[in-house]
């Protein structure tokens, strides 16, 4: 995992901070990921392939592909019902898969462009953020009935819940905000502006903190669950998009889509302990509570990274992004097809000009 090609735009020397276990090809544009500890499986929503990849974690291979709705983005697994759920953005629905038979058993209509999904196993609820519907659907995990549809804001997506405060937090990508919902009344009880491109959230109830990833602002906002105010902005890597709280609640993991890394942030000191190299264009993250292994879905490489986080705590030397070895070198010549004209364009056309090359993907 640490053997990156010469010229890596961002490589962070992590020493023994992490050990790469595997990088498993899963399919096009993997996003949401969940772990089934009992079966030693991971489930990955491959959004451009419209299926869930079922990964055997003993052999590190995909053993099944279960077709769901169009563009499954987020995914959740419920051990009690033994079901896998996907939020299918282009189908405006949630697909439900039996994890034993690996058959699609139900399709539940939700709001427009569902993109976030979180299961509350104790309360037997599953929450779905509907980005273009600007709402959050609340489904019963057992009966699959819609219990409530709650007004959020445009770009509603990722969701986390705080059982100690009877609170759900829904972050709104386009509105750059977070909506707080009372789980007794299903009414919004507060909101807060966060950074632009808010797209992932996790909570640490015992500290009263919600952590919101702001992909365009490039930060993580720490928000009080008591008064719904932003307490501080935390530094992570470039274009952060995913977040998961570690089972021990001492750290959070943030995937940096622009850097190809996973930031480890201390919950108590709110310092970035390390940036661990993962695959290209990382997004969804899950942690196996059984062994602490971390799973990261990489949209660029179409892979699932499996790694062991070996950090005992904050390292003596804080994480620093390595300077790109490209800086100071001549840009390698290119000859690429122009999307609009279909003609080849070469770097010679831009000779003696100052310019920016912006690498992007549409997902």
């Amino acid at each position: 995992m640490n053997d990156f090609p010469l010229g890596a735009a961002c490589r962070v020397d992590t020493g023994v901070a992490s050990v790469s276990v595997a990088e498993i090809p899963v399919g096009l544009d993997p996003e949401g990921v969940a772990v089934d500890s009992r079966r030693r499986r991971a489930y990955v929503a491959c959004s451009r392939a419209d299926y869930v990849a079922v990964v055997d974690l003993e052999t590190n291979t995909v053993v099944a592909e279960v077709t769901v709705g169009s563009e499954p983005i987020d995914l959740a697994y419920d051990a009690e019902t033994d079901r896998i759920f996907t939020a299918d953005a282009h189908s405006d629905s949630v697909s439900v898969i039996d994890a034993e038979t690996l058959e699609l058993v139900a399709t539940v209509p939700v709001g427009m462009y569902p993109s976030g999904l979180t299961a509350d196993h104790a309360s037997r609820r599953i929450y779905c953020g509907n980005s273009l519907g600007s709402t959050m659907s609340v489904l019963d995990l057992d009966t699959l009935e819609t219990i409530a549809t709650v007004e959020a804001e445009v770009g509603a997506g990722a969701i986390a819940f705080d059982p100690t405060r009877d609170l759900v937090v829904c972050v709104n990508f386009i509105a750059a905000s977070a909506t707080f919902v009372d789980t007794k009344t299903w009414e919004p009880v507060g909101r807060v502006d966060v950074g632009s491109g808010a797209c992932a959230v996790g909570v640490v109830p015992e500290r009263g903190d919600a952590f919101v990833v702001n992909s365009l602002a490039g930060t993580v906002s720490r928000v009080s669950l008591d008064d719904f105010t932003v307490q501080e902005e935390l530094e992570v890597g470039r274009a952060p998009v995913g977040l998961t709280v570690a089972p021990a609640r001492d750290r959070i993991y943030v995937s940096n889509r622009g850097a190809g890394t996973l930031s480890v942030l201390g919950v108590a000191d709110r310092v970035q302990w390390a940036q661990l190299p993962v695959g290209e264009g990382p997004g969804g993250i899950a942690v196996d509570p059984a062994d602490g292994r971390v799973y990261v879905a990489n949209a660029g490489t179409g892979t699932l990274t499996v790694l062991e986080d070996r950090l005992a705590g904050a390292p003596a030397v804080p994480a620093v992004e390595e300077r790109s070895p490209l800086i100071g070198e001549k840009l390698p010549a290119f000859s690429l097809v122009d999307f609009r004209t279909g003609e080849k364009r070469s770097s010679a056309e831009w000779a003696e000009r100052k310019y920016i090359v912006n690498f992007f993907a549409s997902w």
Binding site: A9, L28, R48, G218, I356, V357
Partner: protein, 79 residues
């Protein structure tokens, strides 16, 4: 600015068209469907900006945040 689309996995045409329409993107868009050029540069994520001086020298890489990019562009213009 030259935009270079990578990592679509499928035919990039329709995906890029939809993306540009949604975000109102105009200007030059080049396709690097197998990301071989991006790989040559060691690009590991998107978005990534590469700033190039008039003599072809790379002066900055990364720069996703607007404030960072604006500052880097100002430095590039002043060089």
């Amino acid at each position: 600015m030259i935009l270079v689309d990578i990592w679509e996995g499928t035919d990039p045409g329709p995906e890029v068209e939809r993306f540009c329409e949604m975000w109102g993107i105009e200007g030059t868009i080049l396709l690097d469907p197998d990301a071989s050029y991006a790989q040559q540069l060691g690009i590991r994520g998107v978005p990534t900006n590469v700033l190039v001086d008039s003599d072809g020298t790379v002066v900055d890489v990364g720069l996703v945040r607007i404030d960072e990019l604006e500052a880097a562009v100002a430095r590039l213009v002043d060089r």
